[in-house]
Amino acid sequence: MSEFYEKDISGCGIIAIMNEKGMGISGERVMSAIVSMRERTNGLGGGFAAYGIYPEYRDCYAFHIMFDTPQAKDEAEGFLKTRCLMQEEEAIPTRPNRYITNPPLLWRYFLRPKDQYINGTSEADFMVSLVMHINAEVVGGFVASSGKNMGVFKGVGYPEDIGDFFRLDEYKGYIWTAHGRFPTNSQGWWGGAHPFSLLDWTVVHNGEISSYGINKRYLEHFGYRCTLFTDTEVMAYLFDLLIRKHGLPLELAAKVLSAPFWDEIGRMEGSQRDFFTSLRIIYGSALVNGPFAVVVGHASGMVALNDRIKLRPLVAARDGDMLYIASEDSAIREICPHPQKVWTPKAGEPVVGTLKPPIQEEHRKWEGRSQPPQQWFGHPYR
């Protein structure tokens, strides 16, 4: 075949694996899965999110922060120390390799907010304000993740090299999401790699958000400041807004971001039709338009979602307690050659993985009820 007919596959590669019973999975597995999608990346960004990696600090907010300069580090630490009790602070362990160059200073802090500073708002809102402050005001400082018992490891390079650099083979988590970037819209910088994270929300995203302009302005209305020059950020904030602040169940949040078409709503029966009509009327500015495949992780599960007309690839598989989601079937087969079930989720239909053991009772209690189980989704911040 002539080279002119070779298809140029561009975009990003994403993979997410989860054990719904909460059993630890080694970072090695997710790294070997994402290697098989190297063609989908160009070495300008890779990253991982891992849940359940800091059981010894499960009650502390784990801040992974990148600093360009020691001054930025001093400034951010000073800011945090006045407002939080610092349980532990340390450099994130790394293993230098020849593919990773010029890393920033990489530190992690295990924090508890000081009560007198929370001052009327919720603890979670307070922690969000700290993250927003550092990202917007501290020059050369960037909070990569800020949730409990989880962390984001990311940087400029191919994802497997980033994983090796951060020694991810030494961590065990019950959810891993990973991303290899083929950036087009923003230049490759360490903070700009995926996953994007806020509290325990993490987002890996393949796509471009054509509704970015209005999503950003909509989020500003609720006090979010989009500072990262990337559209994926709005994805993370929209999930935070819809689920944590507005109390929508995850499935409904997915129906806001990837709204059913009016034709489809028109075919629904009475009360459901009215409900989805209202949902679209109220949340029109939160509709995410443009091609995307996204996996959102949180402390008690993960959800994968495609845009309304499935313009990006997304495959899911189940095998026992394991849930796999990836851009390509091959990445799943790499670590699970014969899953019990493999399917291609339909446009706008979320794939949901839910952590079962520790919160099973709570989950049951809320089943069939419409009030969002706030505890269920955000249980660490009750």
Binding site: I214, F261, S271, I282, P291, I309, P372
Partner: protein, 506 residues
């Protein structure tokens, strides 16, 4: 009458080789611009009467007539232009306020022509509206800023009902044009087209003829300072109510309907005597501040049992953003903003051409202001004033409007040639007149179809533009200024419009 001291504005050129003296032009011209001499079987012209409406030239069966601007120049003078001189001659003749019709025709910047739209290439695919769903459905009315779920009910349910909304299948409505300023047939065509196309038309301040009550579900009724034709049935039959404070063509003054146009039917609809001038007061005599407006909004909501949205229409003036903010806080569900180029049936030239600001800047300023104050969701913005094509509509929505009103474009679709003589009641196209000899020229069924075609054509084009941007629902365009770029604009203009310069990536 003495001869005018200025030459006629137009030349009527009649090709005598083609003219068959059939007298179509004589019968078509309500201004008596064509004269038939039966002794000589010869048609001649009185050019001083020509208004440039092109009715004769369009209908001449042999194509014998050409209307040209009079090539005779006033001596070139950058300050004392032909227009300035002619206005003075006319004013010296009459001693009155010079009237005109339609929107401002001066050469102020048209910002729509300095704003360019985006399209997808490679990194996100454009969407083909011929093959994929593309949604223009638009809801107008007040919205909550978050959903409240009912915690007690089984399944998913709202705990509160949404405020009443207007549902539009395309984000374009027919702007306020009163029965009186335009003919019965023109009103009928607008009502029917709105119904067929799933949108709304606006009665203007002329009341609603009872024949049109069956179109109530697609009717927005106006309550203006003259209160013409406002009564309980009028409010009840409508889908929404609009309080008219101002109009882009004549901010600060009330509506004018010359007595010449007040026929028996119009007198009944407006509840005024036949032949009287219908002059709306400049302000509402019960609204001297924002709290009074609030009272009227809620009086109308009470009168209609909170069953329909109540909007407020204002002209785009210098303080349009804070005014709109006040209107939203006063409880309006919709704010209509009419820009500098908004049309009219009759307005003083000097007001029309010198008062107000362009709609593009007004939309951007209002949308930004309402967002800054966190109240943008509480009311929908309808922009009006000089929308010429689907690109103007698309740009207005990207700047922040929920929908647009079209008036002039709708009239043009029905045949209007913008001669700007609506106030004379002698519209040769049968639109802005009440003379039965003229109104019967407008076939309401044909006009309805032409209006429908215009809406469908524009909607298809909007879908193409949306698809090109990689968007398949209009709500993802609304206020999405990332899809706009300015060319040839100053820093200040870019800042007010909230858009980047062409060449700047995001």
């Amino acid at each position: 009458m003495a001869y005018a001291l200025y030459p006629s504005e137009f030349r009527i050129e009649r090709d005598q080789d083609r003219c068959i003296a059939c007298q179509v032009c004589v019968r078509q011209c309500a201004n008596d611009g064509h004269i038939y001499d039966s002794e000589d079987d010869f048609v001649s012209s009185d050019e001083s009467r020509c208004v440039g409406c092109h009715r004769c030239g369009t209908l001449c069966p042999t194509g014998a007539i050409t209307i040209r601007e009079n090539p005779m120049h006033f001596k070139t003078n950058a300050n004392w232009t032909a227009r300035a001189l002619r206005d003075i001659y006319k004013q010296a003749e009459t001693g009155g306020v010079l009237l005109t019709g339609m929107g401002c025709d001066r050469s102020y910047p048209i910002y729509f022509d300095r704003i360019l739209l985006n399209a997808s290439q490679v990194t996100n695919p454009s969407i083909d509206p011929l093959r994929e769903p593309m949604e223009l459905r638009t809801f107008l009315g007040s919205k909550p800023d978050r959903i409240e779920l009912d915690p007690s009910g089984k399944g998913i349910r709202l705990s509160t009902n949404l405020a009443p909304q207007l549902v539009l299948e395309t984000p374009i409505l027919f702007s306020a044009m009163s029965y009186g300023s335009i003919s019965y047939n023109a009103c009928w065509a607008l009502a029917r087209a709105a119904k067929v196309e799933g949108t709304f038309y606006n009665t203007g301040e002329g009341g609603l003829h009872r024949d049109f009550y069956p179109y109530g579900e697609n009717t927005i009724v106006q309550v203006a300072s003259g209160r013409f034709g406002v009564h309980a049935d009028y409010l009840d039959v409508a889908a929404a109510i609009e309080i008219k404070i101002g109009q882009g063509a004549k901010p600060g003054i009330g509506g004018h309907l010359p007595g010449e146009k007040v026929s028996e039917q119009i007198s009944q609809t407006r509840m005024i005597p036949v032949g009287t001038d219908a002059l709306s007061p400049a302000p509402h005599h019960d609204i001297y501040s924002i709290e009074d407006l609030r009272q009227l909004i809620f009086a109308l909501k009470e009168a209609t049992r909170y069953s329909k949205p109540v909007g407020v229409k204002i002209a785009a003036v210098h303080n349009v953003a804070p005014i709109a903010s006040g209107i939203v806080r006063a409880g309006a569900d919709m704010v209509a903003i009419d820009g500098l180029r908004g049309g009219t049936g009759a307005a003083p030239i000097t007001i029309r051409d010198n008062v107000g600001i362009p709609i593009e800047l007004a939309i951007a300023a209002v949308d930004s202001r309402l967002r800054e104050e966190g109240i943008r969701h509480r009311a929908s913005i309808i922009a009006a004033g000089g929308f010429r094509n689907s690109a103007d509509v698309t740009k207005a929505i990207a700047l922040g409007a929920d929908a647009v009103y079209i008036g002039t474009a709708a009239l043009v679709a029905m045949g209007c040639h913008l001669c700007q003589k609506c106030y004379t009641g002698k519209c040769n196209w049968g639109i802005a007149t009440q003379d039965p000899y003229l109104t019967k020229r407008l076939n309401p069924k044909i006009a309805e179809r032409r209006l429908g075609n215009l809406l469908r054509g524009w909607s298809l084009e909007i879908k193409e533009m949306l698809g090109g941007m990689g968007i398949n629902a209009i709500e993802s365009l609304r206020g999405n200024r990332e899809h706009l770029r300015g060319v040839g604009l100053t820093e200040a203009e870019l800042k007010i419009l909230g858009i980047k310069s062409a060449g700047e990536a995001w």
